[in-house]
């Protein structure tokens, strides 16, 4: 007999606001994990590290007060992009120090040698250099979040998203052009 066939009144109301239900969490994991990992890998390049950060994003979802069910996707993407950008900035800082100690630079990983195109490096360098809010907006919009989802996940006024995105795009363009001289 399946336990759910047994009729019974609901038990004492449990406070479920603190943690997502295990079944809901699994549903969200199934729905979003690979896309989250891919979104992070877009920013930081290393797929293995992207998986670790994706796990970190889901761990944060598990441990923190969850957003509304319809906002979980946006919350996950925002968390994932922030983790990725923080990693990217750490990596950029590390690279600056490594240039000072070029003789001590560790050997390149296969991903350094074979996966990083010059264009990818430029785009990541610009994303790392921009104010985090700009980079977040651009990456999340590129992941397909709507204006409403952007507003909800970044806790912004929905009416301001268009303007903020325009500013972020302009900031990216200016930074890229000033670094690499490419004209649109």
């Amino acid at each position: 007999m399946n336990a759910s066939d047994v009729a019974g009144p609901a038990g004492a109301p449990a406070d479920q606001a603190r943690l997502p239900a295990a079944s809901d969490f699994e549903t969200q994991f199934e729905a979003h994990y690979e896309r989250i990992a891919r979104a992070i890998a877009r920013v930081i390049r290393d797929p293995a590290r992207a998986e670790e950060l994706a796990v970190e994003a889901f761990w944060k979802l598990w441990r923190n007060t969850p957003p509304r069910e319809d906002a979980v996707g946006g919350w996950l993407y925002r968390t994932a992009v922030r983790l990725a950008l923080d990693e990217l900035r750490r990596s950029a800082r590390r690279s600056r120090y490594e240039r000072w100690f070029a003789a001590l630079r560790p050997p390149s990983t296969p991903y350094d040698l074979f996966s990083a195109s010059e264009e990818q490096g430029r785009v990541r360098a610009v994303l790392a250099a921009l104010p985090r809010r700009h980079s977040e907006l651009l990456l999340l919009r590129h992941e397909g979040l709507s204006y409403a989802e952007l507003a909800s996940s970044l806790q912004l006024n929905p009416a301001s998203i268009g303007t903020l995105l325009s500013r972020a795009q302009e900031a990216f363009r200016k930074e890229y052009v000033s670094r690499y001289g490419e004209q649109i």
């Binding site: 007999m1 759910s4 479920q16 079944s23 998986e51």
Partner: protein
Amino acid sequence: MANKFESEQNWLSAKLDSLNPGEVTFNPSRARTMLRERSAGPGGRWAWAGAVAAALLVLIALPSPRAAAGRVWQRLFTMKVEQPAVRSAAADFALTDSTGKVVRLSDYRGQVVLLNFWATWCAPCQHEVPWFVDFQARFGDQGFTVLGISLDEEGWDAVRPFLAEKQVNYPVMLASSADLPQPYRSIGALPKTYLIDRDGHVAGEYDGLASADAYEKWIRSMLFH
């Protein structure tokens, strides 16, 4: 103007598209394992709690801070307790235990029941089981029983050896969240423990690891008052 805007949009899109990781596959099973390890192993919050517990054990051994350390211990580890002023009926279930017998919560009407949701991979759950074995041994003939429901995905292959090792003396059933009625289906973290009175109403809930003393005090208050 519109064309310039569109050109800039396309340009930016192309830049961000260049970051696509290509033919990379990500392994959800590995991610699930990492999540479980974080919840139960080193580096998880329970490892932190264990380190703090070790420090507190030192304090507890000292005569003067013993009582204070004990209170701190209880505050740290009693994650969340609810003792509702108005008790609602506990949701019934019918699950098969490790001997193959179907166990219903309603079979225990008239007894005080400690209903514990746990899993073998959950470190604090493992910590509690010996307490429950002790409670069953001491109070089992006085109108009390422990009922354990394991949420182990690996099934009886994982659970039976654990039951044998710990010499568990109370009924343990196996379920997945989907098999359970609400509110049990929505349990988000383990361990989760309900204390149910003789009328089948929920007298209290613990979220997380509690102390053996707190459980015993609660059980005694329901058995003997």
